[in-house]
């Protein structure tokens, strides 16, 4: 009898120690993407119900969110393009686009070298003639084998990338006379 009581005592102390250890480490709080059995699909994050738009993510039918004006792809930017926008574009282009399109935009990125079908170079006549909205539209909705980047790259960053693509296109056809004086001095 006494040993039984002792056993039960020891077990309850052990149980208390074990549970009390974990309670605060893993409380009734859901970390991002944590599993939850509350919903049938086992996920704590909820998919958007169809037809709803998250606050601040409204997609109006305008140039900023579609690249189109009156239903056609527009050759215009929805906000002023400054140095800092182009720098941001370069940064985002380097992260998201170079794997396939390459640093020069010639379509010879590392993933292409590993077997991904080669995308068109940005420096062809046909792509240079495309309106700015076209590039925005491709990033947003995908094109050919390229998937949509809408989930990874927010709207303003997509436009910054378009601006940087324009800068890249210019860079590959620039003549010496187009350079500012400071840059000319650096030429050998």
């Amino acid at each position: 009898m006494r040993s039984a009581i002792r056993h039960i005592g020891a077990l309850s102390v052990a149980a208390l120690l074990l549970t009390s250890c974990n309670d605060m480490y893993d409380g009734a709080r859901i970390k991002p993407l944590e599993r939850s059995n509350f919903f049938a699909d086992g996920s704590s994050s909820r998919p958007l119900p169809e037809g709803t738009v998250a606050r601040g993510h409204a997609v109006n039918n305008d140039l900023l969110s579609t690249g189109k004006l009156d239903g056609t792809l527009a050759d215009a930017f929805p906000f002023a393009i400054t140095d800092s926008v182009i720098a941001r574009g370069q940064d985002r282009y380097t992260t998201f686009c170079t794997p396939c399109h390459g640093r020069l935009g010639d379509g010879n990125g590392m993933i292409v070298q590993r077997g991904f079908p080669r995308p068109n170079s940005f420096h062809t006549d046909s792509l240079r003639a495309r309106p700015a909205g076209y590039f925005f539209d491709v990033m947003t909705n995908g094109f050919g084998r390229m998937y949509s980047y809408a989930a990874s790259v927010p709207v303003h960053d997509r436009w910054a990338i378009v601006a940087y693509i324009r800068a890249l296109q210019l860079s590959q056809r620039a003549t010496v006379t187009m350079l500012p004086d400071n840059d000319k001095k650096q030429l050998p």
Binding site: T95, M146, S152
Partner: protein, 218 residues
């Protein structure tokens, strides 16, 4: 009345006192080492995942930046785990028949997310925000180690409070220019402490506040 203990017991008693101290010390030392070891902290222990994803291959081999997949790191508390869509952006064309990637394709077909196992699981009572760290010049590498050479993923830091405080007390030891946070080849300058102090000032890091309890326990 006769003595209970024979005089020779003096040696035994002293020896046993000494021995018990040694034993207690030894147990303490084993416990401390266990507390610091990978068994307890998970440091340097690869975590089994549904797909044996290699950061080494994707980062060093292909040159993909951290931000390509961990898209919210600059803006949110959570750095973000990529949706299957991101994997399939390349793997719809590359390694399309690889058995290793079948769980990825299955996830895309069925729209059921892959269940990656969290490698860095902070206790719920600690608040952490990625964005403030990367925006103030704390590189991925400082906490996550050389992820670019990890064929499987493991923790390189204990995430214990002493580890957090090491940097919160003296961020100048680890801070680097914001432009270098994704750069795994970054070499700190020889005068890191002086350079770090400049950056701490430049980025307006309030070092005194960094050890307030409520900074992490809110």
């Amino acid at each position: 009345m006769a003595q209970i203990f024979h005089p020779s017991m003096r040696v035994v008693s002293r020896a046993s006192i000494l021995a018990s101290l040694i034993v207690i010390g030894f147990i303490g030392w084993v416990g401390w080492d266990w507390y610091r070891s990978g068994y307890f902290t998970g440091v340097n222990v690869p975590v089994e995942q549904p797909v044996p994803f290699s950061h080494e291959h994707h980062v060093n081999g292909l040159g993909i930046s951290c931000g390509y997949c961990h898209t919210s790191v600059e803006k949110a508390a959570f750095a973000g785990i990529p949706p299957t869509h991101t994997c399939m952006t390349c793997h719809s064309q590359i390694w399309t028949g690889a058995p290793m990637l079948e769980p990825v394709r299955a996830s895309y077909r069925t729209q059921k997310p892959l269940e990656w196992v969290r490698v860095h699981d902070l206790p719920d009572f600690a608040y952490f925000n990625h964005s403030i760290h990367v925006n103030k010049g704390m590189a991925c590498q400082v906490c996550h180690g050389d992820v670019n050479i990890m064929p499987l993923t493991w923790k390189s830091s204990t995430l214990q409070m002493a580890w957090c405080l090491d940097c919160h007390r003296a961020p100048e030891k680890y801070i680097r220019p914001v432009e270098e946070i994704y750069n795994f080849d970054y070499k700190p300058p020889a005068d890191q402490i002086a350079f770090g102090k400049e950056l701490v000032k430049k980025y307006n890091v309030q070092v005194k506040q960094l050890t307030d309890c409520s900074i992490c326990h809110r």
